[in-house]
């Protein structure tokens, strides 16, 4: 039914898909799995016509459709339900579904009566219940998703692609969705489900395609495989794990049990725009001289957790304590002054001001400490920059360059130098995706910095979507899934396979 072969897609310097393949038979529910950045969404957006591939071949129902547009795809009956809904909140369900394909009566007027009738018929036929005259803004997330599905069915979709559909659903809504998908399959539809959640894959799919780093690494029959096997394929055996030597091996015993925790989080709940909480009653602590790594696929609450601890996001309930001081209600600046350092996950949005010079970025968040009677102490700032550039080998070694001009790795070094280096006396370091978009040499350097901080008695809370990084650095590993911590294991004995199961919700 659907055949993709040798698909290559490039975005600037990034190769999102390389030689990816996919084979889906008609009338089956097919799961497309892989970690973040594996290239699943990109591949499906190519199939749905949103992107055009740089190379490769696409066939649907025997016809060559390589590089087609969304309009052509929709006409041929291929529809995609995106992860982030493409719905107009102020319009009704009926209006959203019929947008672009409206029913009219004489004089060019909208035929609302006929529209209502058709919606009713569609709803009855598919069993996807939504209140057709309600505004989309008033719907629950589950209902909104059903509207997205109805949008494709209204246009006669026979092939339905769903991108991470359960990311925002409650368990009850997930079961509803399965019921709907099975019904559609029974009526002759073909379904491709993009997901990283293995429990779902086992529950609903018949065939599985596994992707890793832009290419397809395996095709399995659900009935004859297991979550462990799938996880292994997703994470990859031959990927080089950072070397663990005797020096870097995490300590097996509890570090200084009588010391006050560097960071303690108790029953923390952080709301999200949706009904589900982003962080749902989490408790853990980070001891001084320890790296606690949080493993998990992105989107399970890690971002919100870190932002809440840093003071960039409000908490609904719970407490955050740093070395015996309750910081739950303190400002970002106060937390920094009391010893909290934060390497943010998005250096371009949060961590750096790209137009500012390297020197200026090296004092971001600390500018009040480099002030003398309201004026910036230019000499001290320059000296500070000189020292940090040398200590962290930031290149080019020109403090006056705008941060924009440096490579990703060097930009990250600026952030790390600022948060960890010089006279910065921190108690706890929040390191979120610290080596994302950074070249191999810089990765080694950054890892060494984190270990040095740990050895110097600081607490480090590491969040990374890169399982290998978490495994290489952490003394203890917590796994986050669905806004909760589902496991805490010692780093020394953890394996990728075991963690993979927790990360994907397969293990209870």
């Amino acid at each position: 039914m659907i055949r993709l072969a040798g698909i290559e897609k490039r975005f600037g310097p990034v190769l999102a898909n390389r030689g990816a393949t996919l084979e889906v038979s008609a009338g089956e529910i097919h799961a497309l799995v892989g970690e973040n950045g594996a290239g699943k969404s990109t591949l499906m957006r190519i199939l749905s016509g949103m992107f055009q591939p740089n190379a490769g071949r696409m066939e649907v129902a025997g016809k060559d459709v390589t590089g087609w547009s969304t309009a052509e795809a929709i006409k041929a009956g291929v529809g995609m339900v995106h992860q982030h809904f493409m719905l107009v909140p102020t319009l009704t369900v009926t209006e959203n579904i019929t947008l672009g394909a409206e029913l009219t009566k004489g004089g060019g007027r909208l035929d609302r009566a006929r529209g209502r009738a058709e919606m009713q018929a569609l709803i009855e036929r598919t069993g996807l219940h939504v209140p057709p005259e309600h505004r989309v803004a008033d719907l629950t997330v589950g209902e909104a998703q059903r509207v997205e599905i109805l949008k494709t069915l209204y246009r006669g979709a026979k092939v339905l692609i769903l991108d991470e559909p359960t990311a925002v659903l409650s368990p009850a809504e997930v079961n509803e969705l399965w019921r709907v998908l099975r019904k559609l399959r029974d009526e002759g539809g073909t379904i491709v489900l993009i997901t990283h959640k293995l429990d779902e894959v086992m529950a609903i799919s018949e065939t599985i395609t596994v992707m890793r780093q832009g290419e397809t690494v395996g095709r399995l029959k659900t009935a004859s495989t297991s979550p462990a096997e799938i996880a292994k394929m997703m994470v990859g055996r031959e990927v080089v794990l950072a070397q663990r030597t005797a020096d870097t091996r995490p300590k097996a015993q509890d570090p200084r049990p009588q010391a006050v925790a560097a960071l303690e989080v108790k029953d923390l709940t952080v709301p999200s725009a949706r009904k589900k909480n982003a962080v749902d009653g989490i408790s853990f602590s980070v001891a001084p001289g320890e790296i606690l790594g949080i493993a998990g696929v992105e989107g399970n609450g890690q971002t919100e957790l870190i932002e809440a601890i840093a003071g960039l996001r409000d908490v609904a309930s719970g407490s955050i304590t740093m070395a015996d001081t309750d910081i739950s209600r303190l400002s970002v600046r106060k937390r920094g002054d009391l010893g909290l350092s934060h390497i943010p996950e998005d250096r371009h949005e949060r961590g750096l001001i790209l137009e500012y010079s390297v020197a200026a970025n090296l004092i971001l968040g600390q500018q009040h400490r480099f002030t003398k009677r309201g004026a910036l102490d230019v000499t001290r700032i320059a000296e500070h920059a000189r020292r940090l550039i040398a200590a962290f080998d930031i290149r080019p070694a020109d403090a006056s360059l705008p941060a924009r001009a440096l490579s990703g790795g060097n930009q990250q070094k600026i952030v790390i130098a600022r948060e960890m280096g010089g006279a910065r006396d921190f108690k706890i370091l929040l390191a979120s995706q610290p080596t994302r978009g950074v070249d191999v040499g810089a990765i080694e350097f950054i890892h060494a910095q984190l270990r040095a901080a740990r050895d110097a008695g600081k607490g480090v809370l590491l969040v990374s979507a890169d399982l290998n990084e978490v495994l290489a650095l952490s003394d203890r590993i917590a796994v986050m899934y669905g806004g909760r911590v589902v496991a805490i294991v010692p780093g020394a004995s953890a394996t990728a396979e075991a963690l993979g199961s927790f990360m994907t919700g397969a293990a209870a």
Binding site: A71, L87, L91, L99, G100, G108
Partner: protein
């Protein structure tokens, strides 16, 4: 009898507001900021005077609309094609309108203040009889209802509203977002053009700067009316009524005229600050990207 005079004058004053705010609603509902209404109206008033001077009021009406549309197309080129900042270009077009109308006033009519007298649709009287004979009055009364009809009863209106709230969603179902924006801007220019034509033909001449901020009152009405044609119409009549009241009570000196002048603007700020329910603009207003 006093009440009829009051109503007639209110209607007369409200006409430009009704026209211009029709343009405001259509434009902003599609996501394009309508600060330019003042400029559209002024240019249209001039081109309408020009047309009527050479070929009578009906031609003046057409040239007025053409002037408004031309100004709107300039706005479209800068902000849709080149995605320039809509606020800055909007203000610049208003300044441009002042300058260009004055320039051509000198060039064509050799005056710094006004054109020669032109024929309008009514020669004498300001009462209801005169109003009823003026086709522009009928058009004006129909303008906001027409906008309401377009927005809520036609497929184009549905797509326009989608473009103004969530262009990505519109694009995902194949709605040509840029084209919709162009059409919306052109229609707003046409409506504002009618407003300018009304002004010039009603006063039987073009005067330098004759719009005198009416375009901004129209924006105030648009915002205060929450971009809903029915509410906007009420706002226009409300503002016009306050003005009429102030004029008629001038002798009595109850409230200084300047404070009556302020009413539309104060109400708009109140609406934006959400003291009586927040006025929330279309979500994609002012964003030129998709």
């Amino acid at each position: 009898m006093m009440i009829f005079g009051f109503l007639a004058q209110t209607l007369r004053i409200a006409m430009p507001y009704l026209f211009a705010s029709s343009g405001g609603v259509i434009s902003e509902r599609a996501g394009m900021i309508a600060l330019t209404l003042e400029g559209y109206m002024l240019i249209a008033a001039f081109t309408a005077a020009l047309g009527s001077h050479y070929a009578g009021p009906w031609v003046g009406l057409l040239t007025g609309v053409a002037g408004g549309v031309a100004a709107a197309l300039l706005y479209g080129v800068c902000c849709i094609r080149y995605r320039a900042n809509q606020v800055v270009v909007g203000i610049a077009i208003n300044l441009f309108a002042i300058g260009i109308t004055r320039f051509f006033l000198r060039l064509i009519f050799d005056s710094s203040s006004n054109s020669p007298r032109i024929a309008g649709f009514t020669e004498t009287g300001t009462g209801f009889a005169a109003l009823a004979l003026n086709p522009l009055v009928w058009l004006g009364l129909l303008s906001l209802p027409a906008v309401g009809w377009i927005l809520f009863r036609t497929p184009f209106g549905l797509r326009l509203r989608a473009v103004g709230e969530h262009p990505g969603a519109a694009l995902s179902v194949g709605v040509p977002v840029q084209r919709v924006r162009w059409i919306a801007v052109a229609i707003s220019g046409a409506f504002a053009g009618l407003g300018g034509a009304y002004l010039a033909l009603d006063q039987h001449q073009f005067t330098d700067g004759m719009t005198a901020g009416r375009g901004f009152i129209a924006i105030a009405a648009t915002i205060f009316g929450r971009w809903h044609p029915r509410l906007v119409a009420i706002a226009c009549v409300l503002f016009a009524g306050a003005e009429t009241l102030q004029i008629q009570l001038q002798g009595a000196q109850l409230v200084p005229s300047q404070f009556v002048e302020m009413i539309p603007y104060v109400l708009t700020i109140v609406a934006l600050a959400g003291v009586v329910g927040r006025a929330v603009p279309p979500a994609a207003l002012g964003k030129s990207e998709v």
